[in-house]
Assembly symmetry: C2
Homo-oligomer: 250 residues x 2
């Protein structure tokens, strides 16, 4: 049991032909979060038996879409660390052929921990999931998602529940990747606010209702027709973040 | 005369062998400022006669160290624009041989306007000048200066007058350029807080006094022994910035 209001514990159980094993994890972190990993500390354990080199590969892959896809404030500290430990007590030995299963189990645990860190970010009141699609490559999609995740204007708009499609379009347009304004689309929750080169401002009230919740989904299609996509998680930027970090003393 | 509490007007008079000419300028801007230029609008005029192509070259050069060296919030809007107009009424014609003089006159005017924009940034209470030296190249120095200028932890620390050398070292270390911690130096105003791989925390009170003013100087030497250097200007990040941009409605 945790007393953390934003739990950063997760576990999954996985059955493979050789038997059943478990993957669990715990993490801490609040500000100074944009892995490259920082004051973030996370430990993932499994009772499977896994050779260190294989475990490292699986962990690196799992971290890429989880811990390396979150940003509280775009900052990276010097001791961000993610550890994986395997003790083999389940009697299940994971080998190369089970790699995908192990990666998926690690990914699920790491995603839950990573989201917990963002949800508990300094001053955060909302978890924001950013889905970028229609990019020329996954890397271009991630670059755009990261720019959105770190945009002060997006983060303050979300904080104020302002369905500001213009700020999303502006960040996508300056992210330094291929972008076609005429074919781009912006959705807040399930509400499409911009498509075909024009806004749908009459839908703003509905989008604002979505933004007033604690779980916000922002979707941006870059309109290039490419299949590149990426997901990142961030939080809103509040006056409390400023207070916490302006008043903190070395 | 301006009623702007943060004036964005400037003029200089320059004498060359052919006579005297003037360069003046006005600008507007407050948030959404990190040129690539955004809601920032600036017009610079001169009574010298200058061919458009030469004027464009001189303006681009002058903008690089001025308008392209400021950041309020790391955001770029879609209509950032800097115009230069030359009407020749002074009778002085500027040619290739006078290019350096014209650039310097434009640079002085643009710098004054650019600093005015930062000083009047949304929610800003301090102008922060960031000098980075000891880099392998000017480009690496600018990359580091830009990372510092857009660091929420640096901007909130300055807001709280916290002499947090650690946040400056951390940003320099993650800026993606050559950096030698053992030879790096951090100064706040004239107070050296970090050098030779160790902090001088006993000097923190003196640095804090400097940070309580409205004009803050942060100097970081990357310790590589290189001659690369760059200057950028930014402002602190206050709770008012968040309020202005969370409450603003589309």
């Amino acid at each position: 049991m945790t007393t953390d209001p934003f739990p950063k514990e997760a576990a999954v159980e996985v059955t493979v032909p050789a038997g059943t094993f478990r993957v669990g994890g715990i993490a801490k972190g609040s500000g100074m979060i944009e892995p490259m990993l920082a004051t973030m500390l996370a430990v993932v354990t499994t009772d499977a038996g896994v050779e260190p080199a294989l475990l490292q590969r699986a962990l690196t892959t799992a971290a890429d879409d989880t811990f390396n896809a979150i940003s509280v404030d775009g900052e990276c500290s010097t001791n961000d660390s993610l550890f994986a430990l395997a003790n083999g007590t389940s009697g299940v030995v994971i080998t190369e052929k089970d790699l995908d299963v192990l990666v998926e189990a690690l990914r699920r645990v790491c995603e839950a921990l990573a989201i917990g860190i963002v949800r508990g970010g300094e001053g955060a009141t909302k978890l924001v999931t950013i889905d970028v699609s229609g990019a020329q490559s996954n890397a271009e999609a991630k670059k755009t998602a990261r720019a959105i995740a770190n945009s002060l204007l997006v983060k303050t708009a979300v904080h104020g529940a302002d369905p500001n499609w213009g700020r999303l379009v502006a960040v996508a347009g300056r992210a330094g990747v291929a972008f076609d304004l005429e074919r781009a689309r912006v959705q807040v929750g399930d509400v499409e606010l911009f498509a075909g080169g024009r806004p749908y401002d009459e839908r703003a009230p509905e989008a604002s209702v979505h933004l007033q919740g604690t779980d916000v989904l922002l979707r941006v299609d870059l309109g290039t027709g490419g299949s590149g996509r990426a997901r990142m998680w961030t939080c809103d930027l509040s006056a409390d973040y400023v207070k916490i970090n302006a008043e903190y003393r070395t």
